[in-house]
Amino acid sequence: MTTKPKSKLFNICAPIALIILLVIVWQIACTAFDISFHVLPKPAEVGRALLENFPRTIFPDMMASVKVMLAGYCIAIPLGFAIAAFSSQFNLAVKSIMPVLIILMLTPMATLVPIFKLFLGVDPTLKIIIVVLQCTPVIAVNSLSGFIYVPQAKKDLMRALGCRKWESFFRVTVPGAMPQIFTGLKLGCILCTIAAMSADISVGQGGLGYRIQVASSLSATDLAYAAIVIAAILGVVLYMAVSLVETRVITWK
């Protein structure tokens, strides 16, 4: 019991210490090897660019990306869950949909942007569609894996208590599949960040991905790296938020 707070503090401090160490190594390497600003600016220069550009450029782009990420993710969660819940009720659906979901999961959806542009034009919702298409399959695949591997004995108990299929599903299958569902949600939020950035680059019209592309093309690599840092922080914050919900939901482990 007494070691628990210590280990918690250690878990937080260890990665922060490693990040600080890497930034120091980055700063020293840039100076020692005289690396060009256009290839890899020093962390101090990236920091300066971040502070100077945050209010006018990076913050609006960050908010644009956050909106796309959250909108896409919030649509992908119920959609992925519904696909998995429905499919899990039919053996044929499980067998047929699983390979399709895996193919979709592995397809980089940003590559479809040029095709979607043909139908939708350059529409802001196109970015959200990309995020939804990228996140939904991974949430569905993991949820479905959880739904179909609930032990028969657990289902038998529900049957012994007179519960029908859907009651049994919500009382046993869903809680039993929670670890896999959260694996899907966490993978989903990683893919959500990647998809949002890819969509910014492919579609344009603002967002951190767009800013990275524009800054790189103007040789403003310090600004590009600053935007990358913010994109990474967004991904980490979303991942941590989902992990926090996971610890609140899965209290029994």
């Binding site: 004995a153 038998d156 012994a160 007179g162 029908r164 009382r171 809680p175 039993g176 899965i250």
Partner: protein, 267 residues
């Protein structure tokens, strides 16, 4: 003779395996259980003992035959209603606890499903937890208690909603001898106090003779009844019976029946 509470008439069960072959688990089973009786079913592994009570509790359906409980004959294609199911309690071989519920929430699960939320039932749950020395672990999760403790929770969960029929599928198999004897005595007390009909599946012949008024002996491949033995001891029964000569004779008779089955299988 008193009208039977549970009747099994010409029931057969055939399971389909994954490679599409058929296994006859039970063939032409006929059984009767009187209201308030304590009947055990003994027999070798795979003789279909568990399948019989699983069919009575409507977990699985028979391939042929009829099951009647309290005057209601089951439809072999449609699950029976929750109102009828809640008259029955089922105790599994394994504890089968849900890891996301605490010990008490697991015990209260049947009450939650049947919408029985009164203070009275809460007290029933506490009393049962106390009877198996688990009241102090009410807020623990299954991962935090031992296998034997989990098994005791699985046992009391089956009876918390005060069913009329309690089916017990080798419930004490994983427990040590002393806990087993303690729970057997507790079970006899609960049976006497509540007047439940108990159908008890066991491998343990002594346990069957000690607890039951009647014992069905089964044979396997396919599962069928080979003997029905009335155990004529007065109530209440105590562990002192174990040393009586008559007790030994009953055990010998049943063991001989099961032994003959094993020998015939060797041939």
């Amino acid at each position: 003779m008193e009208k039977p509470f549970v009747t099994i008439e010409n029931v057969s069960k055939i399971f389909q395996t994954r490679n599409r072959s058929s296994i006859a688990a039970l063939k032409d089973i006929n059984m009767q259980f009187g209201k308030g009786g304590f009947v055990s079913i003994v027999g070798p592994s795979g003789c279909g003992k568990s399948t019989i009570i699983r069919m009575i509790d409507d977990i699985i359906k028979p391939t042929a035959g009829a099951i009647t409980v309290d005057g209601f004959t089951y439809d072999n294609n449609v699950p029976i209603s929750k109102e009828r199911v809640q008259k029955m309690g089922f105790i599994f071989q394994a504890p089968n606890l849900y890891p996301w519920f605490t010990v008490k929430q697991n015990v209260m699960l049947p009450l939650k499903i049947y919408g029985k939320h009164s203070q009275e039932y809460d007290e029933v749950a506490d009393r049962l937890l106390d009877s198996v020395n688990m009241l102090g672990y009410a807020d623990a999760y299954p991962a935090e208690i031992s296998g034997g403790m989990s098994q005791r929770i699985g046992v009391i969960r089956g009876m918390v909603h005060e069913p009329e029929i309690l089916m017990m599928d080798e419930p004490y198999g994983a427990l040590d001898e002393s806990t087993r004897e303690q729970l057997n005595m507790e079970l006899l007390k609960i049976w006497k106090d509540t007047g439940m009909t108990i159908i008890f599946i066991t491998h343990n012949v002594e346990e069957a003779v000690l607890l039951s008024e009647r014992v069905y002996v089964m044979e396997s491949h396919p599962g069928r009844i080979v003997a029905e033995i009335n155990i004529e001891f007065d109530q209440p029964r105590t562990l002192g019976l174990l040393t009586e000569e008559k007790f030994g004779r009953y055990c010998m008779e049943i063991e001989n029946l099961i032994g003959k089955i094993d020998l015939s299988k060797v041939k």
